[in-house]
C-alpha cells in the first residue's frame, strides 16, 4: 500500500499551524484511522474526538480537504492521496486544541427548546397508538447523530456568527421532530419566529448536502417549519380560519 501525507492543524485556541505527517496506508482505511495512527506513532498528544468509529455517534467531525466530514466515514480511496490531505477542526465553533472545538453552545441551545409534551395516553394501560406512516418523517429527523456538521457549514453561523439569533439546522430539525410528533401538544412556533430565528435560513441547502445521515434538512424540516410560522403569523386567510375556529370552540 502507498504512503499518504496528512496535513493536520496543530495548536491551541485558534493559534496554530499545519503539520505534515506521513504514514503507510492500509486497505479500506478511513481518515480517522490515519489520524489515530499518527496519534499512536508520531504525536501522542494530538487531540481529536472519536467514539464509535461507525458513523453512529457523531464525535469525529472535522474538515477534510476543506469539506465538513465524519473522519470515520471518509475513506482514503475517495481522496486524492497523492497530494497531502488537510485535516482541520470545524470552523463555526471556538477552537480548543488541534481538531477539538468547543461545541457547548449546541447543548445550551437545545436546553432552551421546550421539551416533548405528549397528549393523554390513548389506552388505559398508559400507551399510545400511532401509525407507522405518521411517524416516518419524525423518525427521519431522529436519525440525527448530532455531529454538528450542518451547523459548521451553515453560513448564518459560520460566516455571520449569528449564534445568538439563530439556532442552526441541527436544532431546526430537532424542533421539527417535536412539532411533527403526532403525540406532542406543545407549541413552539412563536419562539421559532423570534428567538430561534427560522427566518434567517435562506435555503441554500448546504446543511442537507453535508448531513452524514442524509436527512433532507431543508426540504423536510426547515421549509415546513417556515410555512407553519407564516401560516400562523402572517397569512390573512389562515388567521381568519384560526379566529373562526377559536370562536367555534369557544362557543362549544
Amino acid at each position: 500500500m502507498p504512503t499518504a501525507t496528512f496535513r493536520v492543524w496543530r495548536g491551541s485556541a485558534g493559534e496554530g499551524k499545519f503539520v505534515d505527517y506521513t504514514i503507510d496506508t492500509a486497505p479500506g482505511m478511513v481518515v480517522l484511522d490515519a489520524v489515530r495512527r499518527i496519534q499512536a506513532d508520531q504525536a501522542n498528544d494530538l487531540a481529536l474526538r472519536w467514539n464509535c468509529k461507525a458513523g453512529k455517534c457523531g464525535s469525529c467531525s472535522a474538515e477534510v480537504n476543506g469539506m465538513p466530514k465524519l473522519m470515520c466515514m471518509t475513506r482514503l480511496s475517495q481522496l486524492p492521496i497523492e497530494q497531502p490531505v488537510t485535516v482541520e477542526p470545524m470552523k463555526a465553533f471556538p477552537h480548543v486544541k488541534d481538531l477539538i472545538t468547543d461545541v457547548s453552545w449546541n447543548y445550551e441551545v437545545k436546553k432552551r427548546i421546550k421539551k416533548f409534551k405528549p397528549r393523554a395516553p390513548d389506552a388505559d394501560d398508559g400507551t399510545w397508538r400511532m401509525k407507522q406512516e405518521d411517524i416516518d418523517r419524525v423518525q427521519e429527523f431522529r436519525k440525527c447523530i448530532e455531529c454538528y456538521l450542518c451547523q459548521d457549514v451553515c453560513h448564518v453561523l459560520r460566516e455571520h456568527d449569528m449564534h445568538q439569533q439563530f439556532i442552526g439546522p441541527r436544532f431546526l430539525v430537532y424542533v421539527a421532530a417535536l412539532e411533527m410528533n403526532p403525540l406532542d401538544t406543545e407549541d413552539r412556533l412563536e419562539e421559532l419566529r423570534d428567538t430561534m430565528g427560522v427566518g434567517f435560513c435562506n435555503i441554500t441547502k448546504c446543511c442537507t448536502k453535508v448531513c452524514p445521515e442524509s436527512i433532507t434538512i431543508t426540504d423536510n424540516a426547515i421549509i415546513p417549519l417556515k410555512e407553519r410560522v407564516v401560516g400562523k403569523f402572517y397569512d390573512p386567510v389562515a388567521r381568519l380560519v384560526q379566529l373562526f375556529r377559536r370562536g367555534k370552540s369557544g362557543a362549544a
Binding site: 492500509a26 486497505p27 498528544d45
Partner: protein
C-alpha cells in the same frame, strides 16, 4: 495540595450512557441534587451504538409473551449462574421502562395496530425487542438525554474519574480531571452511582470505543467492592472483518432476526450442524421453518442463527479453524438471499437495517441487499462486574452503587441480545432511586486529603518522564496488552496460556508504572491513555484469574482443557477482591438457592 475545583452533589453519577442517564433522571426526580460525569460529550456514550432493540415482554406482537418467559429465557441464556432476583426484576419491570421512554419522546417502530413493534432476537422465544430500525440505542440515549437536560442535573462533560474517596467504609466523593484543560476536580457526594460500561479495550478486536477501559470496575475494586463473573466476556459473533480498518465493528443480530443466514465457504448453513441439547426443542428443524419464524409464523421455531451469542461465536470459530472460513478469516452472513422470498427485498432490507446497509456500503464497498457480508467474532460486552444487591444496586461499599454493564448478575454466563438496553433502564432507575434514598438518609462524609494528594501525584508522574529517555509510550503498552489478551484469554482458553497472560500482565504493570507522556495537560489523549492503563490492567487481571478459576466451559467461557460443563461450577460465581497488600484474591461464592416460585417458572417454560 494540588490545585482543584470542588463540586458538591447529593448523588454523583459516573457515566452517561443509558444506565447513568436513567439513574441521574431518577435521582433528580427524587428531589436530590445530581451531578453527571461523562467521559466524552453528552450523548456519545456506547449506548448510542446499540442497534437491535430493547428486550421487554410487552406482548405486542405475540400475546403468549410475558415476564415469566423473558425470565426463563434470560436464565437459560445465562446458563443459570445469573442472579435470579435481578433476572426476575428485569423481566417484570422492563415493559414499564420501555413505555416510559415513549412518554419521554422515543418514537419506536409500530405494529399494524399502532403499538410498539417488537422483533426476533437470539435466545428470546418470542419477538420481544422494541426497536427503531437498527438504531435503537441512538433513540434511547437521545430520549434520555433530551428528557434529562430539563431535570436540573449538573452535567460534567469530558471528565474522567481517577479515584473514589472514602471516609472509613463509606464512599464520600471522587477525584477527577477534565479533558479540556487537564485540571483536577473534586466531587463531594453522599452517594455515587457507577455506570461506566465495559472493558472492551482490553482486547484488540472489539466493538467498543476508546472509553471502555473498565473504569467503574477498577474504581469499585480498589474501593473495596467485589467483582464477580469476570471470566464471562461476550464475543459477539458478528463483527466486520474486512477491510482491516473496520475489523470489530458490530453487525447487528437484527440481520439474523430479519432472516439473515450464516454460511461457510462451501455456502453451507453450518449452524444446523450443532444445536445444543437445551435448545433443541426450541430450534427449527429445517431452513423452511426458520424462514417462517422470521416472517412471524407463531407455530414455527427459530432458526439456529438465533441461538445464543456464545454458541454462535464458537461455531464461527470452528468453521474458520477447520478451513471453511471466508477469505479474510470470517464466515458469510447473507441477508440478500431473501430476494428469493420477498418481492421488494431490497427496499425491505434498507428499511429494516438502514445503518447496516450504510455501514457496509460506505466502509466495505458491499451492497448487503445483493451480496453476503463477511463477519467474525468481536469483543462486545462483559457479563462480569461489580457485585450489587439486586433490589438496590448497592455494592459492598456503603453509598457506592452500580448499574448497567459495569454491574454484574443479571446476565450470568452469557447475555441475550436486547437484554442490555433493558438492563440499563431497569437497574439504572433502581440505582438512581436507592442512591437518592441513601443520600437523604446519610450525611456527607469527610474528604481525605492524603488520598487526593496521592491521586494527583500519580496522575502527573508520566509528565516527569517526558524527555523521552525513559519510559514507554502509553499507546504501545495498551496495544501490547490488547494483543496479549486477544491471543491468550480470548474465545478459546487454556490454563497454560492464561498463566502466560498473568505473567505478561505483571510485566505490563511495571511498564505502566514508568509510562511517559509528551505535551502538556491540555486535551492530551496520550496522557488520558496513560491514565486509563491501570484500569485496563486491573480488569484484565480479574478476567484472567477468574477464567483460570472456573475449570469448566459454560456460556461465554470456553475452556479447551475443560470442555464440558460441571455441576459444581454451576452452583458458584467466581469473585475477586483486593487484599490488604494490594494483590488480587479469587473466591468461589455459592449462588443462593432459587425460590420455589421461580423454579416453577423455569420448569413451566420447558
Amino acid at each position: 495540595m494540588p490545585d482543584y475545583q470542588t463540586f458538591e452533589h447529593d448523588v454523583l453519577v459516573i457515566g452517561a450512557g443509558g444506565a447513568g442517564l436513567r439513574a441521574a433522571i431518577e435521582a433528580s426526580a427524587a428531589g436530590v441534587s445530581v451531578g453527571l460525569v461523562c467521559k466524552s460529550l453528552l450523548g456519545k456514550a456506547h449506548t448510542v451504538m446499540a442497534e437491535g432493540g430493547i428486550a421487554a415482554a410487552l406482548a405486542n406482537v405475540d400475546e403468549r409473551d410475558n415476564w415469566k418467559v423473558h425470565f426463563a429465557d434470560t436464565m437459560r441464556g445465562g446458563q443459570y449462574v445469573n442472579n435470579w432476583r435481578m433476572a426476575e426484576l428485569h423481566a417484570k419491570e422492563a415493559p414499564a421502562r420501555v413505555r416510559e421512554l415513549e412518554a419521554w419522546g422515543a418514537v419506536f417502530d409500530r405494529t399494524a395496530d399502532g403499538k410498539i413493534l417488537q422483533r426476533n432476537f437470539g435466545g428470546h422465544r418470542y419477538p420481544r425487542l422494541a426497536h427503531v430500525g437498527d438504531r435503537t440505542g441512538l433513540e434511547m440515549i437521545r430520549t434520555l438525554q433530551d428528557h434529562g437536560i430539563h431535570q436540573g442535573i449538573d452535567v460534567h462533560m469530558e471528565c474522567t474519574v481517577l479515584t473514589l474517596l472514602k471516609d472509613g467504609d463509606q464512599v464520600t466523593g471522587a477525584f477527577a480531571y477534565d479533558r479540556e484543560r487537564g485540571r483536577f476536580r473534586l466531587f463531594k457526594a453522599k452517594a455515587i452511582v457507577l455506570a461506566t460500561g465495559g472493558i472492551g479495550r482490553a482486547f484488540r478486536i472489539t466493538s467498543n470505543s476508546w472509553e471502555y477501559t473498565g473504569d467503574g470496575h477498577a474504581l469499585a475494586y480498589h474501593a473495596g467492592a467485589e467483582l464477580i463473573d469476570m471470566e464471562f466476556v461476550q464475543f459477539h459473533p458478528t463483527g466486520m472483518v474486512w477491510p482491516p480498518s473496520v475489523r470489530g465493528i458490530l453487525v447487528t443480530e437484527g440481520v439474523r432476526g430479519e432472516g439473515g443466514v450464516l454460511l461457510n465457504s462451501m455456502r453451507k448453513r453450518f449452524m444446523f450442524d450443532d444445536i445444543p441439547d437445551n435448545y433443541k426443542t426450541q430450534t427449527a428443524d429445517s431452513e423452511e421453518e426458520g424462514w417462517r419464524y422470521c416472517q412471524g409464523d407463531k407455530s414455527s421455531r427459530r432458526p439456529p442463527e438465533l441461538l445464543t451469542r456464545d454458541h454462535v461465536a464458537r461455531c464461527i470459530v470452528r468453521e474458520v479453524k477447520e478451513g471453511r472460513g471466508s477469505p479474510h478469516g470470517g464466515v458469510y452472513l447473507d441477508i440478500s438471499w431473501i430476494r428469493q422470498r420477498l418481492k421488494n427485498s431490497e427496499e425491505h432490507i434498507k428499511r429494516k437495517l438502514p445503518s447496516m446497509y450504510h455501514q457496509f456500503k460506505q466502509l466495505a464497498d458491499i451492497d448487503i441487499t445483493q451480496q453476503p457480508m463477511e463477519v467474525g467474532p468481536t469483543t462486545h460486552y462483559v457479563m462480569g462486574g461489580i457485585r450489587v444487591d439486586a433490589d438496590t444496586q448497592m455494592s459492598a461499599v456503603p453509598g457506592l452503587f452500580a448499574a448497567g454493564e459495569c454491574a454484574a448478575g443479571i446476565n450470568g454466563a452469557n447475555r441475550l441480545g436486547g437484554n442490555s438496553l433493558s438492563d440499563l433502564l431497569v437497574f439504572g432507575k433502581r440505582a438512581g432511586e436507592y442512591a437518592a434514598k441513601f443520600a437523604r438518609d446519610h450525611g456527607a462524609g469527610a474528604i481525605n486529603s492524603t488520598q487526593i494528594e496521592e491521586a494527583a501525584r500519580r496522575a502527573l508522574e508520566p509528565f516527569e518522564r517526558s524527555d523521552g529517555t525513559q519510559g514507554e509510550g502509553p499507546y504501545k503498552i495498551q496495544l501490547e496488552l490488547q494483543e496479549m489478551m486477544q491471543e491468550l484469554v480470548g474465545i478459546v482458553r487454556r490454563e497454560d496460556e492464561m498463566q502466560r497472560a498473568l505473567e505478561g500482565i505483571g510485566r505490563l504493570w511495571q511498564l505502566a508504572a514508568s509510562v511517559a507522556v509528551i505535551g502538556n495537560r491540555e486535551y492530551n489523549p496520550g496522557w488520558h491513555t496513560a491514565l486509563d492503563l491501570s484500569n485496563l490492567l486491573t480488569v484484565s487481571e480479574a478476567v484472567t484469574r477468574s477464567a483460570i478459576e472456573r475449570k469448566e466451559s459454560r456460556g461465554a467461557q470456553f475452556r479447551d482443557d475443560y470442555r464440558s460443563k460441571s455441576d459444581e461450577f454451576g452452583k458458584i460465581n467466581i469473585a475477586v477482591r483486593k487484599n490488604a497488600d494490594g494483590s488480587m484474591r479469587v473466591l468461589r461464592e455459592s449462588i443462593p438457592e432459587m425460590p420455589v416460585e421461580l423454579k416453577q417458572v423455569i420448569q413451566e417454560m420447558g
